[in-house]
């Protein structure tokens, strides 16, 4: 099997990431407005208003990856918060309280945005922060979608987005330019659809994209929605993946077992994934990275009519652009119920030829850990797949038992033939 090769597009990725953080650092000096919000706010709309969005979860991940989590989470607890809610948010709040972050000083906001996309913390986090920083706040309520999609779901989200645009106009004291909104929405959807295509290359055997690559290359789909740079990057990445697949270049030197990784990774312990690659336990797919793409509506609760309502249409004006954003969000939310999750796992295991699963019982994220015990049992009992569950946290190393976890994983890898 050919040895793995570094990606030629990596410098392009680094340039995109660096310029994003540079823009955040220099926004205020350049007279630009800065927003704070959860990762799944409609940041393409924010960008269309030429406002720089600081996104909570990626920021929290960067804090943890940068070794700042112990200090930042301690500051958050000292302020009076508990230690059970979202660990990304505990890093973010700590960054504000200490003014320490992976990009230096914490860029302060002019406005704050919440959006209930999958968990209640998404609204509480930034509503609370807006009171701490005394800045205007807007909360977007997103339906959770346990049943079918009907027109009133779309209208509900769309009408809130219209109010959201008015809020942005009021705070920024300028009007939304229709062409910019349409372009940003179109580019956002395109980038996310391309990200889904990128991930699908891992259906190939051997898989060309390591989990570490996936976690890096997801940045444009997560943090640069609405930009041309995100689209251009994914087009370049797809071109390189095509080439790698043609030549049989693999993500890891040996692919002994194909793994599904569930939940967010422990960002402070990324060496785990190098270890897994070296053992030939290759993570080919993860719902966490797939979340930021455009998945097909497979929820069994969606009728043909509901799926038709969600069908993509190229927007040409303000209302259409907001409607398309509403549809994109509702499509994501249609995966929130357990039957939809099981349908996704069932299909994914088949499509990606998954042979074993690692379930990170992530104490730091209530949404992505929801009903994962049910899913793990389903994979074990119905799909006869070996599954290892282990506790940890995405961004709080206090909840991670390194020795115990590595020991469990070692034993599991031996069991599945990658020891």
């Amino acid at each position: 099997m050919p040895l793995s090769e570094p990606f030629k597009v990596f410098p392009l990725y680094k340039e995109l990431a660096d310029s994003y953080y540079t823009r955040l650092r220099s926004a205020k000096k350049e007279g630009k407005l800065v927003s704070w919000g959860v990762v799944l706010i409609p940041s393409e709309i924010v960008r269309a208003m030429d406002i720089e969005p600081v996104l909570g979860e990626p920021f929290g991940a960067a804090c943890a990856a940068g070794g700042l989590a112990p200090e930042l989470t301690a500051a958050t607890e000292k302020y009076g918060f508990g230690r059970d809610f979202c660990s990304y948010s505990r890093n973010f709040v700590g960054a504000y309280l200490t003014n320490k972050s992976p990009i230096g000083e914490m860029p302060l906001p002019d406005l704050v945005i919440g959006c209930k996309t999958g968990c209640n913390d998404h609204i509480a986090w930034f509503e609370t922060l807006s009171k701490m920083v005394h800045k205007p706040y807007f909360g977007i309520d997103m339906p959770v979608v346990y049943g079918d999609i009907q027109e009133y779901h779309i209208s509900y989200v769309q009408s809130q987005l219209e109010n959201f645009v008015r809020f942005l106009e009021e705070v920024s004291r300028r009007k939304m330019v229709e062409e910019k909104l349409v372009e940003a929405v179109t580019l956002s959807h395109k980038a996310r659809a391309l990200w889904t295509r990128v991930l699908e290359y891992n259906k190939k055997v051997p898989s060309p994209l390591s989990f570490r690559n996936q976690l890096s290359f997801m940045l444009p789909a997560v943090s640069l929605r609405g930009t041309k740079g995100a689209v251009d990057f994914y087009l370049a990445l797809i071109e390189e993946l095509e080439d790698k697949v043609k030549r049989g270049v693999a993500a890891a030197p040996r692919e002994k077992v194909r793994i599904l990784w569930d939940n967010i990774p422990p960002w402070y312990y990324m060496q785990l994934f190098r270890y897994l690659d070296e053992k030939g336990a290759v993570i080919v797919v993860s719902p966490y990275v797939a979340l930021f793409g455009v998945n097909t509506p497979i929820s069994p609760t969606l009728s043909a009519q509901g799926k038709k309502l969600l069908q993509k249409k190229e927007p040409t004006n303000f209302k259409e652009a907001l409607r398309e954003v509403a549809k994109d969000y509702l499509l994501s939310m249609s995966f929130e119920n357990l039957p939809a999750k099981l349908a996704w796992y069932r299909q994914t295991v088949k499509d990606y030829n998954v042979q074993a699963a690692l379930f990170h019982a992530n104490l730091g994220c209530k949404n992505l850990s929801l009903n994962k015990g049910d899913v793990a049992k389903y994979l074990e009992e119905k799909l006869k797949m070996p599954v290892l569950k282990f506790e940890g946290s995405n961004a709080d190393p206090k909840d991670f038992d390194e020795k115990g976890t590595v020991g469990k994983i070692e034993a599991f890898l031996k069991r599945v033939g990658a020891g």
Binding site: Y79, G80, F81, G82, D84, F85, C86, G114, K116, C119, N120, D121, I123, A124, W125, E127, T128, K131, G139, I140, D141, P143, V144, V145, Y146, G147, Q150, Y152, H153, Y156, S159, Q160, N163, N337, L338, A361, N362, L363, G364, K366, N367, S369, L370, N371, K372, G373, D374, K377, E391
Partner: protein
């Protein structure tokens, strides 16, 4: 009187099995946002799942340890078969913990009906009212189809009147705690409110009416430091009793199973569906609903109207919404020079919580 209402809570499973044998269909819910009016209008009896005694066991096969004891307790109770009298379950979106219970329950516990209501988290907009009114109508259709029942305009109005009557009686009793010292203890009132969630309201209202008449004649008063408790789900009357056992009286609360459950009525007169939506969205918000101002202003009002001298924060373990709001609440209490103490509890009946609560109370009242 206390024993009667407490026994309704303790013997709820037997009571509800008897009710089922009498031909009544019972539907369980995990959160106060269940629109009980619609369930009653369908001829069904809505009851709250309180979670069993002690800590969870089987539920940890499905829910990770980061979910609260209340969610584990509810799921465990269902998995053990304690609630086998339920014809179905209903869940109006509140938080991820209880949402997880709903999904695991319908997957692993045989149930004829599992109804989900997508209740907005951001509640003070006209868009939310419009959306939720549609959800309620959809909920009604689902209930009718699954359980072979019918909701008419007439039955809905009657059900609203029933639930409003229950809340009105409970509020009248609750208001007796304003007097100093009051004739009724916090533990007694808490048991009355909680038992109304596990017993048919038509019968419960009769008990309340008799009780209220008796309280108006009562001479003995309950002395002690006037405390308010804040929190979320509390299903264990022993907690309130433990607080009052330290020389306090719980004159006010802001709990899902306390004042939040009874403070607002459905306003009759216009479209009843929209009226129900407005009541649940616009009522006194639990920590899961936003904006926070609704909850904060209710707390401030209660502090004043009930002449509260100290506040005990009952923090449901691993409860994100409670944890988020806590610094703001503590800052508010500090500004008002109201002493406070906090203690983590399970919310369900866990005996180990009693000494912790007693200690936190002693710390608060300086005993």
């Amino acid at each position: 009187m206390k024993k009667t209402f407490e026994s309704l809570i303790q013997d709820r499973h037997n009571n509800l099995r008897n009710l089922k044998q009498q031909g009544r269909k019972i539907v369980g819910y995990f959160c106060s946002y269940c629109p009980e009016e619609i369930v009653y209008a369908a001829g069904l009896v809505p009851v709250r799942v309180l979670g069993g005694e002690g800590l969870y066991s089987s539920s940890s096969n499905y829910l990770y340890s980061c979910y609260c004891s209340y969610s584990h307790g509810c799921l465990n109770e269902g998995l053990k078969g304690d609630t086998d009298y339920l014809a179905g379950i209903v869940y109006a979106y509140a938080c991820e913990h209880t949402r997880g219970v709903f999904d695991s329950w319908r997957m692993h516990i045989p149930t004829k009906y599992a109804g989900f209501l997508d209740m907005p988290a951001w509640v003070n907009t006209s868009e939310a009212v419009k959306f939720y009114t549609e959800e309620l109508k959809g909920f009604k259709k689902g209930l009718e189809g699954a359980l072979g029942v019918k909701v008419t305009e007439e039955s809905l109005v009657k059900a609203i009147e029933l639930c409003n009557r229950s809340r009105s009686l409970l509020r009248e009793i609750y208001q007796l705690k304003k007097s100093s010292p009051p004739v009724v203890s916090g533990a007694e009132v808490f048991s009355m409110v909680l038992s109304s969630t596990v017993y048919p309201k038509d019968e419960h209202n009769k008990l309340l009416t008799r009780t209220l008449a008796g309280l108006k004649r009562r001479k003995n008063r309950v002395g002690g430091k006037r405390l308010m408790v804040l929190g979320a789900d509390l299903h264990y009357p022993g907690i309130i009793a433990a607080i009052e056992g330290q020389g306090a009286v719980v004159v006010a609360d802001e709990l899902c199973t306390g004042s939040r459950y009874i403070w607002e009525d459905v306003k009759l007169g216009g479209d009843p569906w929209e009226a129900i939506a407005c009541r649940y969205l616009g009522g006194i918000n639990c920590p899961v609903k936003h904006p926070m101002e609704g909850r904060l202003s209710h707390i401030e009002k209660m502090l004043q109207e009930f002449a509260v001298e100290g506040v005990l924060l009952l923090d449901n373990d691993k409860c994100d919404p409670v944890e988020w709001a806590e610094p703001l609440i503590k800052q508010m209490l500090q500004k008002k020079n109201i002493p406070w103490s906090s203690v983590e509890i399970a919310g369900i009946a866990v005996k180990e919580d009693i000494p912790k609560v007693a200690e936190a109370t002693r710390k608060l009242i300086g005993g």
